[in-house]
């Protein structure tokens, strides 16, 4: 277990020394500032626009980190052959993989804290109170990042960086879209017959969306933006299930990556 910790710490150090992290954070903060302008132009409540937009940027920032850093984490070790010396120490391959992942997760936690602080600042500058429920949204965003990073690591354990990035992006998109489509379908079903012109969508749309929802992690579960922004109540146990979903998928993906990783050759 100590080995795992040392690898995690070194992966943390690696990421913290990576310039790309600061570039990404800089863009996220820039977009936060942009949200203030957006709020002023918007016809909707400025507070709602600022929070909604910023929370969305947080989730996209997580995607960017997963793709730009998560995919490279393992690939760099393989391409630069540093993995040869590391695996010559008495460590299991899964310890290497999980340690690398945990190091990046530590960075994600710090990122979320920085972004939440920035959001607080933006709200304060715009003269709005900081709704404590924003912390809940930050919390679920953390789990979304953790899962996306695990997805990126999983793909990068057997494919090239470019392919892994594309696949990770595809998972992110498909997962969010299928969630949105299913919600839309629900609304449409209710509307059929009540609102003139509302026709049901072909059944294969629903079927596809449901399949995607079933085989991919459900990233929409981590999206409680609208609930928080509009001050709606969260269902009982929602955070518990979201956390369980995050942990479940992370463990599953890391296990799968570890199995694959333990079989491959390092040339």
């Amino acid at each position: 277990m100590r080995e795992l910790m040392w690898i995690a710490l070194s992966s943390f150090r690696e990421t913290v020394r990576d310039k790309i992290l600061y570039t990404l954070l800089f863009f996220v903060l820039l977009l936060f500032a942009f949200s203030m302008l957006l709020g002023e132009w918007s016809v909707f409540s400025q507070q709602k626009v600022v929070t909604d937009f910023s929370l969305g940027v947080m989730s996209l920032g997580g995607l960017a980190i997963a793709i730009f850093i998560g995919v490279g984490l393992i690939q760099k070790e393989i391409q630069r052959k540093t993995i040869l010396t590391l695996l010559s120490k008495p460590v299991h391959r899964w310890q290497f993989l999980v340690g690398k992942y945990l190091g990046l997760v530590m960075v994600l936690v710090i990122n979320i804290l920085v972004m939440t602080a920035a959001l607080w600042l933006v709200l304060k500058l715009s003269g709005f109170p900081f709704d404590p429920r924003l912390l809940l949204a930050a919390y679920t965003t953390f789990w979304e990042m953790a899962v996306i990073t695990a997805v990126a690591l999983f793909f990068s354990s057997f494919s090239t960086p470019v392919v892994s990035s594309l696949l990770t992006f595809a998972v992110f998109l498909a997962s969010h879209l299928s969630g949105g489509i299913l919600q839309y379908l629900e609304t449409m079903k209710k509307a059929v017959g009540k609102i003139p012109g509302a026709t049901p969508l072909p059944s294969y749309v629903e079927w596809t969306a449901k399949t995607v929802r079933w085989i991919l992690p459900d990233l929409e579960i981590f999206n409680i933006r609208s609930v928080v922004v509009h001050g709606l109540p969260l269902p009982d146990m929602y955070l518990f299930w979201a956390t369980a979903h995050g942990i479940g998928w992370t463990v599953f993906l890391m296990a799968l990556s570890s199995i694959w990783f333990s079989r491959r050759d390092f040339v």
Partner: protein, 252 residues
């Protein structure tokens, strides 16, 4: 007990889809064993299969067939590597770390802590002629020779019983070679078993107790160096490794 046992080892690499998933037979047949206390030279022309064999010993590659044992265990079992030090063919390190950070990291992974770790870093650096002033520098500023020495230093941190080195002299200037040779001899005298690959035949002839010669993936000669160098035709004459290698390449 033999610290390394290789029997009928064969390894093919699978080329990628772009090469039609063809396979390359890198090692056809190698059997050898490294007894405790040996200073074992592993020689053969470029592409003979030395690195492939060494990587398999370290559990980085899986043998296509045959058995490979490290410290009496399957190399895929991390426990086999607890008492083993390894330096890969080219020293590849994290260029964003300083020399000290790198040695601390590897030392910890090898189970060293606190005072003992600092002491072992000092001793290993002295042995491998790593200047203390380099240690505060990031590895990206290291020259090839400096990295090579640091690579040797990281491999001996935990006082391994068995040291496996893939061309430890490559990329070193004549002084560097001498330093590494002296370090190896000192370790060997202190009881470390060493298995190393090299193209410097004169070195092997001079210092080794055992040797193995591989040509095109096949083991040609193996055993006590004195036996290998013995000329069966003339008991008073010692053959040169260079001539033996030339002959074996011819025959292969």
């Amino acid at each position: 007990m033999d610290l390394v046992e290789i029997k009928d080892f064969r390894k093919s690499y699978r080329l990628g889809i772009e090469h039609g998933m063809k396979t390359v037979e890198a090692v056809k047949s190698i059997s050898l064993s490294v007894p405790e206390g040996a200073l074992y030279g592993f020689i053969g022309p470029n592409g003979a299969g030395k690195t492939t064999t060494i990587k398999t010993l370290m559990g980085l590659l899986r043998p296509t067939s045959g058995t490979v044992k490290l410290m009496g265990r399957d190399p895929l079992d991390p426990a086999s590597r607890v008492q083993v030090g390894f330096q890969p063919e080219q020293p590849y390190f994290y260029d964003y770390l300083t020399g000290m950070e790198l040695l601390m990291f590897y030392g910890r992974l090898s189970g060293l802590r606190g005072q003992e770790l600092s002491k072992r870093i000092e001793e290993s650096c002295a042995l491998c002629k790593v200047d203390a002033s380099w240690l505060s520098r990031r590895l990206r500023t290291y020259s090839k020779g400096m990295s090579q020495r640091l690579g040797l230093a990281q491999s001996v941190l935990h006082k391994p019983k068995l040291l496996i080195l893939d061309e430890p002299m490559s990329g070193l200037d004549p002084m560097g070679r001498r330093d590494v040779r002296l370090a190896m001899l000192e370790l060997h005298k202190a009881g470390t078993t060493i298995f190393y690959s090299s193209h410097v035949l004169s070195d092997v002839e001079e210092v080794c107790t055992h040797a193995a010669m591989v040509v095109r993936g096949t083991l040609r000669v193996e055993g006590l160096l004195s036996d290998i160098l013995n000329d069966p035709a003339d008991p008073d004459h010692r053959q040169k490794l260079e001539d033996i290698l030339a002959r074996e390449v011819e025959l292969a």
